[in-house]
Amino acid sequence: MTLKNIHKSPNPFRTFKALFALLLLCCLSMTAYAQEKLLVTGTIFDNNGLELAGATILEVGTTNGTTADFDGKFSLQVTTGNDIQISYLGYATQTINITANTAMPLQVTLQEDAYALDAVELVAVGYGTMRKSDLTGAISTVSADELEKGVISSTEQVLQGKVAGLTVIQGTGDPSSGASLRLRGGTSLTASNNPLVVVDGIPGVDINTVQPNDIKTIDVLKDASATAIYGSRGANGVIIITTKSQKSGFNVTYNGYTGISYASNNLDMLSANQWRQYVRDNNVTGAIDYGGDTDWQEELQTTSATMSHTVSLASGAEYNGLRASVSYLDNKGIIKTTGLERLSGNLSIYQYAMDKKLKFDAGMFATVDKWNPLDYRIFERAFNLNPTIPVYDENGNFTSVDGTLYENPVEILTNRTADSKRNRLLGYFKTEADLCTDLKAVLNLSYEHNASTGNTYKPSYAILEGITENGYAQKTYGEYTNMQLETYLNYTKEFGKNNLNLMGGYSFLENVYEGFGAQRSGFVTNAFGYNNLGAGTNYRIGDVYSYKGKSRLVSFFARANYSFNSRFMLTATIREDGSSRFGKNNKWGTFPSASVAWRISNEAFLEDSSWLTNLKLRAGYGVTGNQDGIGEYKSLSILGAGNDSYYDPATGDWSLAYSPTQNPNPDLKWETTEQFNIGLDFSLFNFLNGTIEWYNKYTKDLLYTYEVPQPPYLVGTMLANVGELSNKGIELSLNANIINTDKFTWDANLTMAHNKQKIEKLSNQTYETDVIYSGSLHGLSGLSNQFSQIIAEGYPVGTFWGYESSGLDENGNFILSEEKTDIGNIQPDLSMGLAMNFTYSNFDFAITGYGMFGQEVLNATNMVLYNPNRLPAYNVPDGYLDSGINEPSPTYSSYWIEDASFFRLQSMSLGYTIPFEKSNSKLRVYLLGENLAVFTGYEGVDPEIDMSGLANPGIDRFNNYPRPTTISLGLNLTLGN
């Protein structure tokens, strides 16, 4: 242990030690006294007169309490004269004074109460939970109910459209590719804009470690006052996933579905007959008719089958409980050979000891994913190939016609093997100890391991690399582990109308990654595939490699909550983060926050209001960071031995040269985001709940690989903290119970968000940058080294910069402006999500959708395909023939920028539930349709384009893998007591 690298911070160590001493002191000063005890027994009922299991009975002012058993019965020793409080999720809490005269057994009926739900619903806030009613920050919760409806194949999709301000974009329809998540517009040019994912208290976990069926709730921390407790990792928001556990009784569930998928849309290209018609009508010379009739897009596609089975077992009793689940998913892709096969298991156990003063939690999540990576070069070729070329020739071999980017895509798809596998493992052991009344200590140890293997073989007869390399085989392995220790103390105290909660802790994270790979070519036989690299005959420098790296993150954190009379709430947090990745001049960062809330509806003048049942105003400010953009060792002066070799004329051999690989930057640090948030929660007439949020985020020290002047710099680019970026926006969430009768219910959720982004600065004293060109068009015919977007002060990320087109002249050439200008951007004006649920008797019906409006997309597919030079050899879209375009030079201009507003009908489900009498068992069957319709004016295949990263945000480049439409039939069975 060394302290020599602590700069900047005023010895966080000492501060935190002092805090702990104080907390311990509080604990030790408690005294106890004795009085006469009385055994209270009773039964608890719900408002339908049924016994209610699981309610909490607490002797007020003490930690003495119990839980009602399966029949709603309880017994508790209570000091005469004290009150007992009976509470249960979603029911109004009752308080009963116990005297010697109290009639036993008690018969308590709890009344359902939507408002009370807030008071007992616990929301995960990081290192603890808070009552929803006490929250001061902007936090959205997605509950299990919402999780169980709609799309269920991945945890990312579960969140689509559910949280105002959270955008989930599944860039392609490939089941093996993940989605990108973005909260409130993203804050970084370089780093990941994905929110931090916390699973059961463990930060930084891969979101796909957890399967949708295991999730109880997801809390999304949006503003800085909520996320600052995660310091340098909190700038993009935090998603806290809490998994299910069983508190009492047992249940066995089975969830399964089977479905079919097909491509929701394809581009209309000329058919063979349309092509022949065109050749005849225009007397085209040199057109070669190969005699076939091929739809190349469809040749790559298939109607695929998907299935999923999940079984879970759970039981819980007073002192312990466990839950285990196993699930299997086989999600075949609509492009042949693709898909995702996932086997996952989850086991969690809890155990109390020492009169419930100690609690142990242990759990493990494991997944195995298998998939076949796709060679994405097939898509452009599918648009290029002449539709008269048959897939196979008369001998049953693949047809091969010479031309640029003209290889038979079915042949590419068929004649190669690519197998990938990923194992994820997350294990944790958590100890909670009630040190004394009001003071709790928590120690959480976790280990996450993620390992991927890749195998590729291109046989000697496979076009693209197979033939030229005479067989090519590759194997790769990469893994990382996160070892994490987190420990904190939590102190809670109620005195009078005051409620105080203090928390302070320490966290240590060590990430180690390593891997290796090897490739060989020149195989005499194809018999081995990728299994015998030693049989390859060609060997080049760079054919074997390995790597390893390590980083550490050390943190101290503290939080204080105070509330007065359930009317005023105050939260303050602070976190000190030290990261090994930061430069030596900036090893430690401080991330404070403060927020307040005022529950106006608890004030006297509103207390009796019948229409306004909840009104709460919140305001918060905080500072958070993002350190994802800094790789290991980026601040140091490093020599690398890679492919840099030199010739030794004495021996005729090549030796490895060692050369500096980067400009060292000892000032390298996290990106800092300051955020101000004002929120208003309201409930009207007990039927409409809503939240409005307004925020202003300002990010400084933006990390980017800036161009630096050469000379003097060694390398032309350098990772540095320079720019500034702002995001401002408003969000609205509405939740309405429109109809709520015994037979029929109808509720609706609506989320809407608007965000405005602007690059504020790109230069500082050291670095000068006017503009960064992005949105590369490289690789498109005639557009090498061309860029479509700029990153510049005053514009948002993803601003299209090019010539304004005012249509075509009489020759079919584009009329363009003299100067390049702002011709659109990828930022939507409005994102929205809509969900509606209906139940009628035992039937349920749900519909969900989401949309984005006002964003622009570059239709680079059409830009390349609408070209007079293509016909007759290359195919064109139907639309080209009537377009009048006769411009031979591929010209990027506003002509190809399209409004990509859309609304997607994401899912519709119809279910029927058969309740089992006298038990908690039930059976539900349902029919589910996903991605049923897209309402858009966009001309391409799909308006929803990947916006993550800087390379190609919002550019439809042959739009790759089409999204499927899926129809599934599913069954949920729950057997309980």
């Binding site: 060394t2 009630d434 080294n785």
Partner: protein, 501 residues
């Protein structure tokens, strides 16, 4: 009580595990201050100076001296080559059309690429000098290493002097202040001084691909030959004297022996940049960039034993016919029907017409796929990869001969040029003209060094660079040097743009 004990235990656990060590542990790379102490490590560092000559590719540009874009730039602004737009291909924002028409912009990436090639190499040499300085070597051991490194650096500065003229001079690795321009004269003086000071410590013997005395003499000869063009001071006799210092080389009897795949044994090559695909070298794909997409069918019966080509750079119209028919060097340009070796018939392109390379190109902005003679100087054979194995020839003995011939003509003694030129024309199989003048030397330089990246410098010296050719009009004198690239200028406000831009 037991809970108090537990509390104390837990707090002590907390303190025990509170590690705050944030030093980075390195596993697969090394920090520069931990490297460069053993002779092997020094060799590996100095080797980096030579590997830098192959250029690099990064997120900003490809900076390869044999292809994109350093070679592209110098060829396409000259009178021997062109990259016409063919259908949709090679338009690329009009950058090659602008280069050909001498209307290039400071924003054009190909100019930035040439700048960065030189300065990345210079920075690397500076860093190696710094490391050698820090090592435990004796001064006697360091001196020859410095001489070699400074000469490599002078080679980069020579190119900057030629292409950009008024560039900043940086020599100290530790100085990261933003430098300002030096005048072209200062850069010229710097190059000369660095080479002259290094000369005594360079190796006298021929060491292939390394900076020896002979290489330094040859570079100084180039400097003096272009002295009038660079700084207005003619130094023809100095050039001849420097050429006379060079020894140990003879012309290869077969001109094309210099351009074989295994060309490291040429008796003529004074300086070359070695390449070897198996050693992982990249950037040597000019052939791949010139030949037609289907050219592989002329080489490989299966059509698969030769890489795809990109159908880009061609000879400019008129260049092919400027060769005499009996000039063996004419085979550096490929013209005519291309035969499919499997079928023995002419290859048909996908537009249905035959693949016949023509000397003529209908238009720079709208050329047919097959138009333009192709760069065919380096050996082309089956089994090649996209990245070629041949070494890139930088200075040949033939250049030493022609430089001296030119200087004699310049000095008013055309007869003095005859012994040098005779060696060149005899090997080429051509006749000596009755009268030897600068126009002949200019044309002979084109024929001898076609597609070797020298043409821009040569035509500027002869003045023909500024005259109209093909689709190009007259060129303003300020375009004898390129502008400082726009992004360099915007990131370093201490720099001023070259005059005229």
């Amino acid at each position: 009580m037991k809970f108090k004990i537990f509390a104390v235990l837990l707090s002590s656990l907390f303190v025990t595990v509170s590690c705050t060590d944030l030093d980075e542990d390195l596993y697969d790379r090394v920090e520069d201050n931990n490297f460069g102490t053993t002779p092997d490590e020094i060799d590996a560092l100095v080797g980096g100076a030579y590997s830098s000559l192959r250029g690099f590719s990064d997120e900003i540009s490809n900076a390869f001296p044999g292809s994109e874009f350093v070679f592209f730039l110098n060829e396409v602004v000259s009178d021997e080559a062109t990259i016409p737009t063919r259908g949709t291909n090679w338009y690329d924002g009009g950058v090659y059309q602008r280069a050909q028409n001498h209307t290039w912009l400071a924003e054009d990436g190909i100019i930035l690429s040439a700048w960065r090639y030189c300065y990345a190499g210079i920075a690397k040499v500076n860093s190696i000098i710094y490391q050698v300085d820090q090592s435990g070597l004796t001064e006697a051991e360091k001196t020859p290493i410095y001489a070699e490194l400074r000469s490599v650096r002078a080679y980069y500065y020579y190119m900057l002097l030629d292409m950009f003229g008024n560039v900043p001079i940086v020599t100290d690795f530790e100085d990261t202040g933003l430098p300002s321009n030096s005048s072209r004269q200062e850069v010229y003086n710097f190059v000369e001084a660095e080479l002259l000071e290094s000369l005594p410590y360079l190796k006298s013997e021929i060491v292939y691909s390394k900076f020896t005395k002979n290489v330094a003499y040859a570079l100084l000869a180039r400097l003096y030959l272009n002295s009038e063009a660079f700084v207005g001071t003619p130094r023809w006799q100095d050039c001849i004297n420097m050429c006379q210092n060079i020894s140990g080389y003879t012309l290869e009897p077969d001109y094309f022996a210099n351009f074989l795949t295994e060309n490291e044994n040429s008796s003529e090559t004074i300086f070359a940049i070695p390449y070897d695909n198996d050693a992982g070298t990249i950037g040597n794909y000019m052939n791949s960039m010139s030949l037609h997409y289907l050219h592989r069918l002329t080489v490989s019966a299966s059509g698969n034993d030769f890489p795809w080509s990109a159908n880009g750079m061609s000879a400019q119209p008129g260049v092919y016919s400027s060769f005499a028919e009996n000039d063996m060097r004419i085979d550096a340009i490929l013209i005519g029907d291309q035969i499919n070796v499997a079928t023995n018939s002419v290859i048909m392109m996908d537009n249905g017409s035959p693949l016949t390379y023509t000397e003529e190109i209908s238009s720079l902005a709208d050329a047919q796929e097959n138009e333009g003679g192709r760069l065919f100087k380096y050996e082309t054979k089956a089994g090649e990869q996209w990245e070629r194995d041949h070494d890139l020839v930088i200075i040949r003995y033939a250049e030493i001969l022609i430089m001296q011939a030119e200087c004699y003509v310049r000095l008013g003694n055309p007869d003095g040029a005859i012994p040098f030129l005779t060696q060149i024309t005899e090997r080429a199989g051509t006749d000596m003209p009755d009268m030897i003048d600068l126009q002949f030397i200019n044309q002979e330089s084109l024929r001898e060094f076609i597609f070797e990246g020298k043409r821009r410098t040569d035509t500027i010296r002869f003045g023909t660079f500024f005259e109209p050719w093909w689709e190009k009009g007259s060129t303003e004198p300020y375009r004898a040097i390129f502008p400082i690239p726009a992004t360099v200028l915007s990131t370093n406000t201490n720099l001023t743009q070259n005059p005229g831009y």
